[in-house]
Symmetry: C2
Amino acid sequence: MGHQRDPRSPEQLREAGHAAVDWLADLLGRIDELPITAHVEPGAVRAALPDHPPEQPESFAQVLEDLDGIIVPGLTHWQHPGWFAFFPGNSSPPSVLGELLSAGLGVQGMSWATSPAATELESLVLDWLVELLGLPRTWRVDTGPGGGVILGTASEATHTSLVVAREQARARDAPTDDLVVYASVEAHSSVQKGARVAGFHHVRLLATTPDGGLDPAALAAAIAVDRAQGLVPTALVSCVGTTGRGALDPLDQLVPIARSEGLWHHVDAAWAGTMWICPELRHHTEVLGSVDSWVTNPHKYLFTNVDCTAFWVADRRPLLDAMSITPSYLRNETTDRDDVIDYRDWHVGLGRRFRSLKLWLVLRMFGAEQMRTILREHVRLARDLADRIEQHAGLELMGPSHWPLVCFRAVAGDDRTRAIAAAVNASESLAVTVAEDVDGHPYVRVSIGQANTGQADVDRLWAAITAA
Amino acid sequence: MGHQRDPRSPEQLREAGHAAVDWLADLLGRIDELPITAHVEPGAVRAALPDHPPEQPESFAQVLEDLDGIIVPGLTHWQHPGWFAFFPGNSSPPSVLGELLSAGLGVQGMSWATSPAATELESLVLDWLVELLGLPRTWRVDTGPGGGVILGTASEATHTSLVVAREQARARDAPTDDLVVYASVEAHSSVQKGARVAGFHHVRLLATTPDGGLDPAALAAAIAVDRAQGLVPTALVSCVGTTGRGALDPLDQLVPIARSEGLWHHVDAAWAGTMWICPELRHHTEVLGSVDSWVTNPHKYLFTNVDCTAFWVADRRPLLDAMSITPSYLRNETTDRDDVIDYRDWHVGLGRRFRSLKLWLVLRMFGAEQMRTILREHVRLARDLADRIEQHAGLELMGPSHWPLVCFRAVAGDDRTRAIAAAVNASESLAVTVAEDVDGHPYVRVSIGQANTGQADVDRLWAAITAA
């Protein structure tokens, strides 16, 4: 192996860093030639690697060899332009650079005082997003009383929000085991999970209207039944863009119910929310001033690699009441200042990395106009695909979507639907998801939004669908 | 600004990536010349940046200019060799490379199927750590029934563990509001926070013996009182290396109590746990087979940048019971296979980045022997500093520590103690923490462990202490 550098040395970073950048740029330059889905049996990747950790240092060249030979063939490539599965998990060069810089700077922003710029840049970029997404001005940190914070996943945001709702109910002496959370049956699984983790015994997954939005009448009825049984309606999670088929809960009708019933109202816009950078893709913004929290994932469409979730509360006080504990070793001159944010009081974790850096680089190096252009092209591609499906005698579109998600099934039935998806996924250069509707019938779910996906990729997809 | 590259292009990554690597290597090469603590007023960093997001793209050169001019002066440098504050938050070139590769690959490992290698490498490196740290073999994923997972912070691990404890108690029909958690008064604030977030109404922070370890008699007595009042003792969090002064709970005496009382037993080794790569720095390993979960942070001493927390459970079944929900769009061929891990079922979040990559690079590019050598040198430096303090007439050492944490105060009293810390921190090249003991008296807390800290840095620290 020859001479080994001290792995702590900046020169090690310089030397191997250049090699890593070239390796990555080369890989991303030919990612459309790689099989999009890993073809490995469970255990195969692990079996190819040493069972014991090395006693002696190895070189970065050896690491790259194993990346090429073992790791990359075991990955499913979310950055492939043929990625129509789940949701996009877009990375981009600006985001990668931000992650690199964050790791290298190695600061820890648990408190303002432990690295002021980490906190202030986070507040700034989230305030920028408030502006870009058309959210209420009162959610800006600088104008308050609300504010935003970066979390790891939308699931964490929903969980956090439900913890705040629970604490508010308990402050009014409601027994924990009597608290109830409401959402639609098409809400994301993170609602059920977040509610369970937050300790709610009762989660009502309510009926939707045919378009997939939570039925306000069902909500009102469920609340009445629960109250009659002595339970305590506590929180509503409504959804802007359901995972299954991109449905929209009728916030204009839900907000008045949540307000009059005193429910904490969290809005899950994990997927669709970042598309609000385009004004024509926003919905029900007129009632947003009356919800309590809202989440979206820049790590889906917005060119920022996982993990980067943007979570806002309309009023930061209840969140801080639930999450803030300050022992002596974390107290400092600025801890009790109102004009200083200590983000450790905004979430479960304490330590936190400098995640705003990558979002800052994305917003600057793309610029808002270019981001809108890319998203609008994906919306156009989705409408184009939906049109083709609608005109095809053998396929059935599952209702319109407000965003670039296209769901369809075969007229011939479930087996044919599954066969189409299987054929597409067998192509090695396309990936779609099979989901099931509430009655258990499968459908093919095509999410258009990988940063580099273009007309040619959708054409390939269409060719594969019609061939199947 | 001239020609702008498409920010999605691999060539953008190549060009700006090389510039970023050089910028970082240059900065880290002169980090000991930077003021270790940021000297900025609250709001100053933000005020220097544009209040609105850019419509048009900016170049990476412009970003670097702002990093140099605005961001870096606003950071407190955890990678400075004079860093003796809080705990080390070590980054290292191998870790930075791993973070870079993870961001660039941009895969999302929520399920095994969504990128098999991401899951299998995570299991492997955590099994490697089981071996390196001398943990029970049954905690390895491959031999089970336990297993490890990477989380973001130890706080999340403690919270997760307490959620599992709560769910087990509720499965036996205990009312949530009657459940009790026990820990010592010197336990980390994350115990109190995690218990609150998990919905526990009752947290008993119990007395310690003079050496700072949880007093087993106090635990037994508290449990008896709670049972007499009809409450339900549910979980014990014991500590290997308290945050305040590096104390050790007597696990050998606590384990039998927890077992006979049916408590879920979580061990917080967030800080000291990674030092177990040196066998002589381990404690009470003989009873570890009887605890339920254990956490340590490679993102403290172990050269892996924040965030990287390693969390193990002795039996993964109760964790999965608490955290697993599988909607149709997440179900796939391998979801129900026993030999396949879907890490989304191990924590609150769903989406997850490829965090094992950086830990893998660290373990390979350092090698176990070199990591032990560095840690042993830090232990030696801590003992050396403790000796000097002990022999100094004006200073008083606050008991021995098992690990490289040195706590002391001025014999002349609280004001002098605070003055010493203030003088050290005013040096611009050293940082220590002032903490308070349970009686509210301050002491200076010196944590030795920044990856590049050496004898010369400790000598500088000693000179600053004695000068003050």
